[in-house]
Structures are given as structure tokens and as C-alpha cells.
Point group: D2
Chain length 298, copies 4
């Protein structure tokens, strides 16, 4: 298979169930909304050693938000709902309530699972807080130094998907990196998905276990995808003309949104000259509940 002359390998991305909360953060300006969203989703690349996987989903126009201000949808992901509630309270309480001019709305008002995050955060108001309604949503208004912080009573969550992915092989490090950037930028326009790694991009793919340090390392670099040591690695997956590989990991609310993100992301990546191949990562289908076959996306 090919897109724009770039080989698309006939393989699949293997992905997993995860719990995802979705939050809409608005602010006085687009820029301040982004500041809060970045702080709230930082230190959130992988649940292996981060307390959550988190990222900005997409910009929300004043034309669509409940308070008519610009905003960003973010997603916060953990394996269990208990951890998710903790993360919501900590990240919204410490990184959004504290941020200039923000308000917080439920990004999944129709979900069955709802956390009463707003109800809990309101106690910061120490009795001066009040309730008001915005577009039919129950909001707690908490007086703070910067003005009033508004937070919706509940934040919804669903069982979503983590680990949608694809890999970009480039003839130079900057080719592969720029292609990854283009893919991330394009996916950022979409509904329902995040790319939680730094700038949306993974530079260091891993394998389960270890060849040499198996006693204490649960995961190590996947040497078969490391271009600088291809000559030393038997069974390397790196072609001779490939100098770097970057991966996009995509979490999302459902299969359709991840499929769409992989589709437009891959297509955009192939427009960068020097991209040699697109592939995806899996565990032979043994571990993950979800499979996204690249041939279905082309």
C-alpha cells in the first residue's frame, strides 16, 4: 500500500481500554485557555511513570462554548476510575482553578459515569461560593483573587482507548520529526483524540522486558527500531536509508475517533519529502482489545 508514494505497511496498531475524563477549559482569551490546558495536562505522557496520560484534544471556539469564551477540550486518562477522580481533583484544582480567568465545563455531559468534581472544588470558596446556571449547566462560582472561578458540578468520563499509534520512518531525523509534527497538528483539529507525549510525539519506543537487565527493568528501548544501532542489531526493522523513527500514540474516546486520527495523521505525514515508510505497533494481537489495521485507513 502507498499514500503519496510512501509505503504503508500491512500491519495494525494494538490498543487498550483506559478510562478517560474530558474537560472543557475556557478563559478570557485563547492564549490563557491554552496556558491552563498545558499546565493541567503536563507530566502526562504515559501511565508507566506519570500519574495520568493527558493532552489537549482541540480548540473550542467562542461560538460553541457555554460561556461564549474561547477554550480547549482536554482529556485525562488512567486505568481506573478511582485514580481518575484523584487526577481530576488535583489537576483541575491545582492547574486550572489557579490559572487566570478560567472556567471548567463538563466535556462529556451525556456519559453515564460522572465525577462531582465541581461539587468538591467549591469548598475552596469557604462559604462564599454560589450556584449559577450557564446554558442549562449547574455551575459553582467560587470567588478568587482574580475574579470568579466557575466549575461545573460534574465531569463525565467513559471507557475509552489508549495506544492507537503509528510510526514514521524518515531519511533524516528532521524529516521524520517534521512529518510527526504535521500529523500532530492535523490530529489536533479533530474531535475525540489526544496525543499525550511531548508535542504529541514519541522519540523512544519501548519493548516489554529487557535482554540484559531483565532482573530490574520491565521495559526497555526496542532496539530493533533504533536507527543509530541498526548495524549491531540482528533482525533490525530499520531499512538502510532510514535515519530516524518517531511514533504518534493516540488516545481517544472511541474506535471511530482513533481511526479518523490515524487516517488523517498518516496522510499528512506522507506529504513531507523523505518519509520512507509508515507502520504501526502491536503485540501480535495478544494484549490489546482493539486493533486498527492500516489497510482499513488507506
Amino acid at each position: 500500500m502507498e499514500i503519496n508514494g510512501v509505503e504503508i505497511e500491512d500491519t495494525f496498531a494494538e490498543a487498550f481500554s483506559i478510562k478517560i475524563a474530558r474537560v472543557l477549559i475556557t478563559a478570557a482569551t485563547k492564549r490563557w485557555a491554552e496556558v491552563a490546558a498545558l499546565e493541567a495536562t503536563g507530566f502526562g505522557t504515559s501511565v508507566i511513570m506519570c500519574p495520568a496520560e493527558a493532552g489537549i484534544e482541540r480548540y473550542a471556539s467562542p461560538q460553541e462554548t457555554p460561556d461564549g469564551r474561547p477554550g480547549y477540550y482536554i482529556q485525562i486518562c488512567t486505568f481506573g476510575y478511582d485514580a481518575l477522580e484523584h487526577q481530576l481533583l488535583e489537576r483541575l484544582g491545582q492547574c486550572v482553578l489557579t490559572a487566570p480567568t478560567t472556567a471548567v465545563f463538563n466535556g462529556l455531559p451525556a456519559a453515564e459515569k460522572q465525577f462531582n468534581v465541581g461539587f468538591k472544588l467549591k469548598f475552596f470558596g469557604d462559604g462564599m461560593e454560589s450556584v449559577k446556571e450557564i446554558e442549562g449547566r449547574k455551575m459553582h462560582s467560587i470567588p478568587i483573587m482574580g475574579g470568579d472561578f466557575l466549575v461545573e458540578e460534574n465531569i463525565g468520563a467513559v471507557a475509552g482507548i489508549a495506544g492507537g499509534n503509528f510510526f514514521i520512518f524518515g531519511d533524516s531525523q528532521m524529516t521524520a520529526l517534521t512529518a510527526a509534527e504535521v500529523a500532530v497538528d492535523t490530529i489536533k483539529e479533530l474531535e475525540g483524540t489526544i496525543t499525550p507525549f511531548p508535542g504529541g510525539i514519541v522519540a523512544s519506543g519501548s519493548k516489554a522486558g529487557s535482554n540484559k537487565y531483565a532482573k530490574f527493568m520491565k521495559a526497555t528501548a526496542n532496539e530493533k527500531f533504533c536507527p543509530t544501532i541498526r548495524d549491531k542489531v540482528e533482525g533490525t526493522e530499520i531499512p538502510a536509508d532510514v535515519k530516524a523513527v518517531f511514533e504518534l500514540v493516540i488516545n481517544g474516546l472511541d474506535e471511530a475517533s482513533i481511526k479518523k486520527a490515524m487516517q488523517v495523521g498518516i496522510k499528512a505525514a506522507t506529504t513531507v519529502p523523505g518519509v520512507k515508510k509508515i507502520t504501526a505497533g502491536n503485540y501480535g494481537g495478544k494484549l490489546g482489545k482493539f486493533q486498527f489495521h492500516l489497510k482499513d485507513l488507506v
Copy 2:
């Protein structure tokens, strides 16, 4: 006291001891270095509910970095050294090693306290890692998908200071916010300090304890600094012409750097038309080890 016609209250900021690690992250470009630095310092406003206080200190020019690439100094702060080592491993391992094109250098090579973070991260290389020297620094080179990730053997830390601060009173929300932005931008040029809150700014000052919810709330909004309820609060600190207050919290390596940051930050803030007053927060001198008197800064 006045600067640019703005009243500077004769009071002081009260600050505390904290442990601070300092890291230099370089990357192929300024932009990618910033991406990694933002991810690594996110979810890091206050140790009350974040795993660390963290922020970008300043840009480092290719003319000064060990590898001749652009970079950013970041600081990561916790109350104890054990927590700090954990945070370093997690934040550098998950948010910088995974980021495109990065390298990590010791930001405090002369400090007595050194964590062998690089030594520990190298095991991700699964035996393919090697040692090289850059400008006299011992670096571990770990082959990853995107190229080689280089990390210095040790990362230094010191007993620093948390909680340097000042408050900006404005005649409108946007006056106070813009003044805070200007102050943060100016402090970002300096050596040795960070402003860990979102965009460097605190919108929600707190007091210890609670008037109404004392049974379960350890800290609540400081109602005396909340402009929207000034008419309801006895002993309010908000003058009639003040509509919003924003605070800068400043952590730093030593007293001199915090003093300098407060000085240039306050001065810059007073250039925004409509700033009514600058003050600082303290606990009467009973809790914190350090005092920064505004009269010494003018």
C-alpha cells in the same frame, strides 16, 4: 513607597526552604527544547496537591550550552530529597527521554547533592548504551527510535527557597493580568528562579484553614483578597477601585536570585496603566525562614 506612581506596600514576602534540582534540556531547536521543558514541568504548581513544583527558569543559548544546541533550564522542587529523586526519574524519564531530539545536562554541577539520574536512566538502553564525554561531562548515550538520547551521569540539587511572592492589584481584571504577564516575561530572562504556577501566575490565593469547612479543608480562598465579594467581607484588603488581584509565586536557588526576580518583576508590572498597588504575602513572619521586604527592592 512608589514605583512609576504605583503604591508599593511596606510589607514582606515570607518564603520557605525547599529542595530544588536544576536541569538543562537541550534539543535540535529552541522550539523542541521548550516542548520537552513544558511537558516535564507541567502539573507542577504547588506541592499541596501536585507531585512537585516545577517550571522553566530561562532559555539557554547555543553559545553557552555544552552541546552547542538551544536549551532551557528547568527547576523541579519538592520538600525532601527522596521525593525529588523520584520526580527527576519520572519527569526526565517520561517527559524528556521520550521527547524529540533532547539531551539532559546537570544544571547544578557544583552542588554537593547529586542524584545519579543519568546512571539510572541509561538502563533503558538495554545494553546498547555507551558513555561519552561532552565538555568534560560524563554523558550516557542511549540509542532510541529518534536517534541517541544523551543524559548526564548526575543531576545536582540544593536547598533553595519556595514562596517568594508579590501581589498585583489592578483597576480591571485585564490590567492586573497583563501586569502579571509582563512581570513573568521579565523574570523568565533571569538566572536562578521559576514562577511555577500556570503561565507563572496565581489567580487564587489561599489562607490556611477555613472559616466554614474547617473540619475537612486545610486551605481555602483568602476572602480578604477576593474583589468580587469585597462588599460582603469584613476587613477586606481590596480597595474600592480594584477589580482583580494576581500573584506571582517565585521559587529560586538562593535569596539573591529571588530578590532580583521580585525587583524586576515588580518594576515591570508597574508599567501597565491601571495597576493600583503592589503588595506581598506573609504569615507575620512566623512560618517561613526567609523574608523579602519590598522596601529593600525599590
Copy 3:
């Protein structure tokens, strides 16, 4: 009339005919497309002393562009078609052909008026240029140092409208400025309009002629809208509680797009606390062909 509690004056914006060319600039990444678009539309605020009025209309997703790469629509405006062709050749030839990785597509392929800009620029290729087709468009491919520069044979233009406008009155300079920023950000999402002034905002409204320097000044500051001298100006339009006024000037392809831009821009501006009034500028209906009444937008 009121929106979000802000007074909307019952008046109208008076606007004029102008010739507008529309160009789609794509590039390897969103960021490089923006770099080219900014350079090509700079020094383009007002035809009074700039060679054209120019601005970025909106971002174009890889999902919609002919070459599948990210891009920006820009508009270039002059009073006559001759000047417009010169501006197209100069701005596209000097600011887009020279920019990294760009391509240029016709932003108005269905317009009656077409300039063969691509045909003329191709001679830079000195015989090495060739013709190719992208999505049914005739493109000239010119080999340059950075790769191949592609430019469509024709660029379309229409008789459009200049001078749609509204004014934002704020209780502080930063209130009015932030409200203007929010309005500009929102309008940037729309099809068909630009806000050609710096950052989309006019800080210095003018009147025709001069009270004091009539012999040599054709236009001077409109003192009735200048807050810092309101006490000295008889008939000032500035209420006592207004400290600053900023204006958005909007050019667009047709009446509907300007009306929409004014509508969403005004609404967004009113969300910023401290905005006191929205009004619009006109010459009593004597000079301009088009009138946009604020009451029709509310």
C-alpha cells in the same frame, strides 16, 4: 441594545468597495505556512500609506487543501486591479516564493477576474520550470534551492468590501485591548474576512482633515475618541469611565462575510469584564457604499 450586559450603540459601520485577491499558501508545516503568510501580508494595514491592505484570513487544514498540506488563506486589497496585480507579483514573488517549502494556490478560482501571476512568476525558473496538475489545477513547478516552488497559473480577485468596523470601549486599556484580541481570534476562524491592522487591531482612529494642520494633513487623530484628552475636547464621545478604545477594521469578500465577522467579533468582545460599550464608525452614510447596522447583528 445589549449583549452580555454591554451596551451596543444603535449606529452603523460604513464601508467601501475595494479589490481583493485571495491566495492559499501551503507549506510543509502549519508554522512555515504562517511564516510566509505573515511576511506576505506585512506592511499592509491601510492603503493610505501602505502599498496594500493585507492579512491572514484563516487556517486551511491539510484535509481541505489541494496538496494535502497545511496552509493559510490570505487576502490582498487595493483600490484598483492594476495595483493589485503589482502587489500580487511583488508579495508572492518576494515573500512566498522565497519562503521555505511553500506552494501558492488560487483562493478564488471561480472569480471572473483572474491574474496570471503563476504564469509570470514561472520565468524565475529560467527554463527549468515545468507544468503539473494538482486536483485539476494548473501548477507551475519552479526548481529552487529549497526544492520545487509550485504556483497556480491564475490568482482570482473580486470587488469586495473594505472598512467594516466596530469600536470597543473599555474601563482600562488592557480591558479594551484584550476584548479586541478575543474578537480578532474569533474572526480568524471565519471564511472570507481579514482584519488588516497590526494583530488585527487599530489603536489610532482618524478623522478626515485637521483642525490645526489643515494645510498639509489630510487625516488626523479623531480627538473625540481619545480618552486621555477627554477633558479637553468639546463633544467628546468618551464616557467618564472609559480609559481606552480599540477598533477592528474588517475587509471581506462580500457583505455576508463582514456581517458575520462583526457579529461574532462583537459578541466575543463583550465577554471580557469591563467592556463598557460597542459602537461603529461611519461618515453619516455619505461616503461608503455599504452600511452594517449593529442592530441587525444583535
Copy 4:
């Protein structure tokens, strides 16, 4: 010669005399100062078809500016002083006076040549303008809608240098482009130089005259530096492993500043993996007054 393993050709950049005015633009925030600086320096890549060559020199900290606000130094360049005065009046009058919260200071107060730009712009104030002094500088304060616009009486200019340059050869388009970006970012920190092309980068090098269209084309693509046609061009300068070339053109106040910019720019560019060669452009020394030999920079 080599830097970081990259070949530096033993050749020189040939540069020319040009007249340069230097202006300091300050604003309420760094961001608004940059907005004005970008607008004022747009449509300013090459005097071949732009009315001036213009660019942002460097950021100026509130700690160093006369009004204690953040700012940017810009340079505007034309071959003669008459054209330069016109450009100053037009670009400052239309792109800075109109921009939110700006002030304009003389960037070369010690130069012999001074244009009374502030004196001329003050008439926009229509008699409401006044004179004030800031740090010993004579400023005209013009009341406008957004507040007061301050502009210094004079703007200085010198006989400077245009056309300092170097070329970056990369193994992929993105390698060469990223190396150029890194070089531009580094040069932006320096005093005295600008890189006037889009994003600081030239994608389309030209030669004088034309092989095929000599009758009407004074300058055409330099086919010997065009990688996509290297197989068709006799005497191509493009090695087999080079896929793209980008050039930095550097204007500056004097030889020392251009030399420094070339030095740090070249060094920074060589840190990007896949850069194959650095060279420079000249006309055999026959046309330009200045020569910058790469061997003197290594």
C-alpha cells in the same frame, strides 16, 4: 575546514553598502511589541521588489529600555537615505502608531544621520500632542484612541551592510530547513543584525541575468544550486547526497556584527544531523564592497 564534522567551504560572502535605520519599538507586553515589529517589517525581504529590507534585530528587556517596557529593535534598509525616510514614515506611521500600546525610540541616537520622524508624525495629533522627556530623550506624545502614542523626535541611520550570507546543504529538505531555523534563532539573540527573509530564511537563491529569458528577466533561479534538477544541470554545485539548500541573508550595522552573526549561525546550523556542507555566495569579489571569508569565522 570542519565544524562539528560538517565541511565549511573555503570561500566568502560578498556584501554591499546599504542605508539602515534602527528603531526600538516598546509596548505593554513582549507579545504586543512583537506584533507591531512584525507588521512594520513585513513585505521587506529584498529591495529587488520590496520597498525595503526589514527585520527584527533582537528583543530588548524592560531592564534596558527607556520606558521600562519590553521591546524589539528593528532595522529598515534601503539603498538611499531618501527612500529610507519615506519607509520610516510609512512603516512607523501605519504599522506602529496604529498598533496597540506602542512607543517608538531612536535605535541609533549617536548616529550622525538623523531623520525627524517623530517630529513629522506628531502632526497626526492635530494640536493635542505634547512633548515630554524620557531618559533624556525628546518624545512626542500623541493622544490616540488606545491611549498615548509616544515617538522620539529623531530616528538615526547609518551606512551599513547588506548581503552577508551563508548556505546550508542538507541531506533532506527538513534537515537543511531546521538547521536554518536554528541559525536564525541564534542570530536573533545578537546585537546589530537582521535576517530579512521570511522566517529569516531564503529558499530561492538567484543569479544575475537569465539563460533563457534574458530579454526580460534581470534575475532568475541559480540552477546550479537547485537540488531537484541536479541531474539536468551541467556544473551543478549540488553533491549527490544533498536534497535541499537554504540560505541566510544577513544585514547589519557594521562588519563586526555580520561576522559575529555568520559565526554563531554557522556553528549552530552544524549541530543538526544531516547537514552536509556550509558555503557562502559571492560574485568573485567584483561587485560588493565587503567580503566575509568563512575561514576567518571557524
